[in-house]
Amino acid sequence: AGGGGGRSFSFKVVLLGEGCVGKTSLVLRYCENKFNDKHITTLQASFLTKKLNIGGKRVNLAIWDTAGQERFHALGPIYYRDSNGAILVYDITDEDSFQKVKNWVKELRKMLGNEICLCIVGNKIDLEKERHVSVQEAETYAESVGAKHYHTSAKQNKGIEELFLDLCKRMIETAQVDERARGNGSSQSGTARRGVQIIDDEPQVQSSGGCCSSG
């Protein structure tokens, strides 16, 4: 719609997945358009933000990388509480990493119910020849758990913009449904505490998407 009635949303998205599936590569590609950059100036790739403008709605996206080592597994709930979205990444050449995704989905649904938007991401599609997870199986599974499936390559910068854009749209929708359910106007206390901040902001604040800040 552009212009009028600009609203602003803040979303927290957690990244989950086995080691080496390409989580860090995905976010760095998305936020800084870098891949295996030897002269990387980024101080850290664990918390990155991106500002977007989707149809006049401003979105502040905070992407939280999570420690993936097995010994940190029990800490998962501390990381993902209050998140609006989760990106579950597997490596298409690694069957095990897809099994891990299934475990995460179970856990997230158990702890957060349907409030969280789930994305299942098959990364490294540039290695199609070595694929070990069938497209059919992955997509069917995603549908069965109410998640969306995406194919990406951090190396070739494929499918990443779409993934995040789509996720943001879904999160906006969820937030609005939430708000309507609470009866418009003074929303219930739960909203802010879940980190969805809905702000009527003045139109001059930021230019449209693409700008990003980190650390």
């Binding site: 803040s10 860090t24 990387i40 101080l43 664990s46 029990a74």
Partner: protein
Amino acid sequence: MSLKSERRGIHVDQSELLCKKGCGYYGNPAWQGFCSKCWREEYHKARQKQIQEDWELAERLQREEEEAYASSQGTQGAQSLTFSKFEEKKTNEKSRKVTTVKKFFGASSRAGTKKEVQEAKAPSPSIHRQASIETDRVSKEFIEFLKTYHKPGQEIYKQCKIFLDAMHHKRELSIEEQSECAQDFYQNVAEKLQIRWKVSPEKLEKAMDQIEKYIMTRLYKYVFCPETTEDEKKDLAVQKRIRALHWVTPQMLCVPVNEDIPEVSDMVVKAITDIIEMDSKRVPHDKLACITKCSNHIFNAIKITRNEPASADDFLQTLIYIVLKGNPPRLQSNIQYITRFCNPSRLMSGEDGYYFTNLCCAVAFIEKLDAQSLNLSNEDFDRYMSGQTSPKKQEPESWSPDVCIGVKQMYKNLDLLSQLNERQEIIVSEAKKLERDLIDWTDGIAKEVQDIVEKYPLEIKPKNPPLAAIDSENVENDRLPPPLQPQVYAG
């Protein structure tokens, strides 16, 4: 009483002992030279003056607001706090202070009688002076800040006052309920600012920070580590746990920082300082800022060591290490306090929130840590925990680099000494061998000589007889012709 001091033989000018006010009673340096009665009066006066000043500021804001409101709305008169209500609150605040002082003096405070309360009153001015100066400074700054917001500023001030008043009456509620109230307050103020006053997001964020600072500076002493919770017990448990884990090395945690690099060890020290400093702050937001500063030092340490951006695993591992090394005071209390009373939008999705969440993870990890978490066998883990052995002694290569340079040098020297010792032993044994060889050799020679001597025995012949007897034993002499006889020839 004057007799007493004379008897002790201390000569003090009478006037120095008396109350500065000249009331005739004795003064006390603890009350700045006043007697207890005059000190109370003086202190009360100072407080009263402060309250008056505070009030005048508030009143002015209120008046300005009312005028603005009246001019815009015509008839509707703005509801204001009455002076008496304000007064009442201040007085309440004072009596509350007394009870907190008593808290310092131990658990018996609950059974306190009226009389005890009276006695406790005396030290309150000196103890609380510092805190109340700070509180007043924050209030002044807050009011100054709100002036830049004009009308919404006055609205904010009013809301805060009402909230603090309400909180005062909720002191008996559980801490969770009080936290709920604070969270509702943040949300309501934020909504009012956005919807009614159309404040921009940037200004909103700033205002929310200031509001948090103002109200939490005032509430801190009642809601930080309250007696009604287990917070303190948990603090002590974590502290003890960390002390018991003193033997954990950076290698066991796979910490991606190399403290042999001076800049890196510098960063590590700074990170530890930051995380320890957190406890000294009163405002949740300031506490978060300490965590964020600590995190940035960690990222720098990783960056210098490895020259690539730190991942979530790198960061968490290093943070765990920093927490173990620093053993920051009242960790659980601080975490709980921030969770309960921080402005939620900052905590949930902001950068500070991410680092805070990692700190929560680090503490949870430390609490549950076992042999598998450190890739150790159960036996080793138990032995280290019980203090029977320390991993440092077994593998000198993995000494935690935290030992100071002097100690490191000492270990190096010890190493050298033991090497020297080995060499010395080798030399001694070589010398012994040489000695043995020498002995063998001489023995050998002796034996050889002996053999030769045996083989060729030495016969010593008797000495020859004197010349006269030379012939006597000469057997063949007999066969010799008789010696020529001298013959005489006639001639």
